[in-house]
Symmetry: C2
Subunit: 316 residues, 2 copies
């Protein structure tokens, strides 16, 4: 990551701060977070027999695309802080933050192509395809701010918005290792299941999460009217009167604390929390089955299983 | 272009309108403009002996990157119309316009990789490198809104902001045709000279242009306080008193009509218009010399020379 973002322009300095390589004074820090996606690339490549060095361009390229999406998401969502630091647009303004995200996107392509030759081209094509899907998901998510989505529509959106890059992590690992089409297809299915479990659990935590373990206070996504899984589910399940009140609450801000409590109570009463937990279990089971179908070591399968459990539990 | 942007999502429909393939009702139109960059790719590839079909992915990919940059530029410059149509952000809002540009950027990579194998990887790497340079130039241009630039700094900025993609057009044509490193280097030098002549001429027209032939009324770039070549030059040449008045004019809006006339008069008095015209001639001569060093047909050289003359004259 440090090598990919080396250079003395204001944009590159800003990007090193954004990804957590440097503080605002230019001093090296260790703030890059969990690096989930690149770790998955390296893990899959390693399990399928490819040397780590060969998987690095794909792993770094994927993490750069993830970070580019965060820079632009923060503008779109008007979020002023991320990882405890001011976001790029909050520091440099929207025009320069658009540039910063665009530059990360271009550098991601440059880096993934360093894998060289035809393999580099295959990796870059997979990464660009996942990037396009992610952006379509982001567009759909913005549309859901203006209308309610069904649970199916919501799942389709997260398959794109957050699922595409997670799925891509598995695919890139497979491409690096020269896996055949069948294995690559299975890797993609596994990635999709993991992505769904991960995102729905994250959405549940946004409503029922406990501030001590995940940093989100109870009801935070209701307070910011985020149209996450529980909202799609409660809109689908609510009868006319509840639905009218939900629509009124989700149509104007701020949301009062009694309304926050009523929304959470309604979700619980209509079984939304249980539905969500069941979906997380369902997708984890799908991931488990997918794992079994892959030519991984039993040590690798165990490690993957505990990683998926951690992701879908997400209590740190 | 139509094939690259096929699909039924709101973003893709929006992009077809932006590039001029469709009107807002989804009907096909012929509004894609001059297609300068892709035409250059096809011209160079053809002159160096490559079939047009092989050059198409690179040509289309480059035009998509150019169009992606326009979508984001229009947000950054708050421009509400382009090519006589409302800009993407003016139609869909800033968040969705950021997505639209990002999607074009990703599709550009997907398309250029369709050239296949190692050639596709080389084309994608050249395109991503030029894209990164263009974005750095855009960042520098934004910085010049807040401070004055010397003529040298200004030329360095346009080498990146507008020059990178023009240069890339020549390079992509060379890569498609399998040109060796020496020829590719000469193509890049030629592209840089053409890019400079083109941009400085465009800047001169922004101040002295005649509304009838190029659609810009005299003084339009002074009125919008655009920090183009004549501004860099007049700031460099002005003595203290003139400089102070220039700084005052360029520090606040709106610019009064007497101030517009004074700025243009000062530029003329200090020889800025002549300096600009001399630079355009200098870079055109450099382009001519560069053309001579390339293995093109004499018909090709003549065509290129008249194209460069057209670009640097730009009277339509």
């Amino acid at each position: 990551m440090a090598e990919a973002l080396r250079g003395d322009t204001p944009l590159l300095r800003e990007l090193r701060v954004h990804v957590g390589l440097e503080d605002e004074g230019g001093r090296a820090i260790d703030g890059m977070g969990k690096l989930l996606r690149p770790s998955l690339v390296l893990f899959v490549a390693d399990e399928l027999g490819a040397p780590t060095a060969e998987a690095l361009p794909a792993a770094v390229g994927l993490e750069l695309v993830h970070n580019f999406s965060l820079v632009h998401d923060d503008i779109q969502d008007q979020d002023r802080t991320r990882r405890g630091r001011p976001t790029v647009w909050a520091r440099c303004g929207i025009p320069e933050a658009i540039n910063a995200g665009d530059l990360l996107h271009a550098i991601a392509t440059i880096v993934v192509l360093r894998a060289g030759g035809e393999a580099g081209a295959a990796l870059a094509a997979a990464l660009a395809g996942a990037t396009a899907e992610m952006i379509e998901g982001q567009s759909l998510d913005l549309a859901f701010e203006k209308r309610s989505a069904t649970v199916d529509e919501y799942v389709r959106m997260i398959d794109q918005k957050t699922g595409a890059l997670l799925r891509c992590a598995f695919e890139l690992g497979g491409i690096v290792a020269g896996a055949d089409a069948k294995v690559r297809g299975r890797l993609a299915s596994l990635g999709r299941a993991v992505g769904r479990a991960f995102q729905i659990q994250d959405d549940l935590l946004g409503v029922w999460g406990d501030g001590d373990t995940i940093g989100k206070p109870r009801g935070s996504d209701v307070r910011r009217r985020k149209k996450s899984f529980p909202v799609a589910a409660v809109f689908s399940r609510a009868a006319a009167a509840d639905r009218a009140r939900l629509e009124a609450i989700y149509a104007s801000e701020p949301v009062s604390e009694p309304d926050v409590r009523w929304v959470i109570g309604t979700m619980e009463r209509l079984g939304v929390r249980d539905e969500g937990a069941a979906k997380v279990r369902e997708y984890l089971a799908e991931a488990d089955a997918g794992l079994e179908s892959l030519p991984l070591s039993s040590k690798g399968k165990n490690e993957a299983r505990s990683l998926f459990g951690y992701l879908a539990g997400r209590e740190r």
